[in-house]
Symmetry: none
Subunit: 249 residues, 2 copies
DNA sequence: ATCAAAACAGCAAAAACTTGCAAAAAATCC
DNA sequence: GGATTTTTTGCAAGTTTTTGCTGTTTTGAT
């Protein structure tokens, strides 16, 4: 294998997952950790990535720069993604909806973490296919143009015949009274079926979206098992959600 | 063997695989490693490729642009795509398989050309979603990691319940005797179901793939209605395919 | 403060590269 | 055609690069 190939692989991985561990790289590339270390050092010198203790990250990652509001939001989502991934177990069969937060979860899953994932989201599917140990099943149906999300009877029917360990709902607006709400009725149908098909449901929400209500209701908070935000679980902003039997992470 | 031929071969290999090892070249060309080294050094000086330790890479190798610098093949595929699009009618319901040639077709469809497309290929689906007038239905199933193509019983079942105007088969190897062949058995199953579900079938093939045979057979040429290549329909290279009731475009 | 993991520095073996050179092949000239 | 020049090719000796391993130091988390 050429050094250039190795470095390209490393760069691809960094861009794909925001961060990588040297150990994982060494194993994936079948070279010693020293070689990977040297490669990363070089790439760092060329400003292609940022070397950190134990691994490497892409630029803009963990950059809490105030000027760029987007990176700020991104870091919140990454925080959520980290928490979410830590809730997964190897070999689980899970459902994942769409949304950028869920996309971060997909990016954060370790390279050799066996999993079976069903999803109606094109973006999620594409991202997950980067992971060799993840079996990806796409829930086919009519695709929405902007969201790249599959909707319609086909999806719901497929979900009705499914029983999985876990459902991870990405997007969505959250409110203690109104529960989980959406502005798209078609998406509601799919998400409801997803919740039904799963033993446990996790919802991910950046704190900005808490206490906001949309047109249609997906479910009440009692149907949800776990809530993941970027906040400390003890944060007072989350008090409104404590009356439900939620595990707050 | 002439030096010129050798260097042409080297360039072809680099363009095809984006990288080559000097050792492989020396073996393939049956010359000493020094000769290859000198050739590569020359080509590097002429900026035709980039010499690296142990081999050579094409330019843009490190640019993670994904789009290959396979320009000569690409131009053929674009030619095919143009011809194919001209065969479509507004409002048709069609099936599209995967492959880079079909991807060019998807890129070539005019922005306001109403169409309904069913596909098991992630790449094709993503591309088609750029077109506001195209309704995209994804045939869900288990996704292959490299090809991003949905396979398995779910796909085949969905196809069995479908009846569309047209099926456009992208990849695949073509031979007058052997018919349409593939190296992946799972993909065969899906393609066969696609052909069954369509009234008419068009196959796209760059002339390089004509007269090549793979392990498994998708169908015979009698089941196909139209063959699109980048060649002139009267080209003698296509003579072998005329005995069938094909429309050659 | 402690301890395990990660980084570093130095070293040695293997692979790749360079240079110089001579034989072989090709081109040129008479 | 034959001699001569030029180019090309393969080989050998010496140099550089790459890589994995050793032991040591640093780092980060508890």
């Amino acid at each position: 294998m050429l050094k250039e190939e190795r470095q390209k692989f490393i760069l691809d991985q960094v861009h794909l997952h925001h961060r990588v561990l040297l150990n994982d790289l060494a194993e994936a590339l079948e070279v010693s950790i020293d070689t990977v270390r040297r490669d990363v050092k070089e790439l760092d010198k060329e400003k292609k990535l940022k070397k950190v203790h134990g691994g490497a990250t892409s630029f803009g990652f963990m950059n809490f720069s105030k000027e760029d509001g987007n990176t700020y939001l991104l870091s919140k989502k990454i925080k959520i993604a980290e928490k979410t991934v830590s809730l997964l177990s190897e070999g689980q069969v899970i459902l994942m909806s769409g949304g950028t937060t869920n996309l971060e979860v997909a990016k954060m899953i370790p390279r050799k973490f066996p999993l079976t994932v069903f999803t109606p989201s094109l973006h999620i599917a594409v991202q997950l296919l980067e992971l060799p140990e993840v079996e990806v099943f796409f829930l086919g149906g009519k695709l929405q143009h902007e969201s790249k999300f599959a909707i319609g009877g086909t999806v719901v029917n497929a979900l009705n015949r499914l029983k999985v360990d876990l459902c991870i709902l990405g997007t969505g607006y959250l409110d203690a009274e109104a529960g989980l709400t959406e502005f798209d009725w078609e998406v509601i149908q799919v998400k409801q079926a997803m919740i039904q098909a799963a033993k446990r449901t996790i919802i991910l929400s950046v704190s900005d979206k808490l206490h906001s209500v949309q047109k249609y209701r997906t479910c009440s908070l009692t149907e949800v098992d776990t809530l993941v935000t970027e906040l400390d679980p003890m944060d007072t902003k989350l008090d409104a959600f404590r009356p439900f039997h939620l595990k707050i992470v």
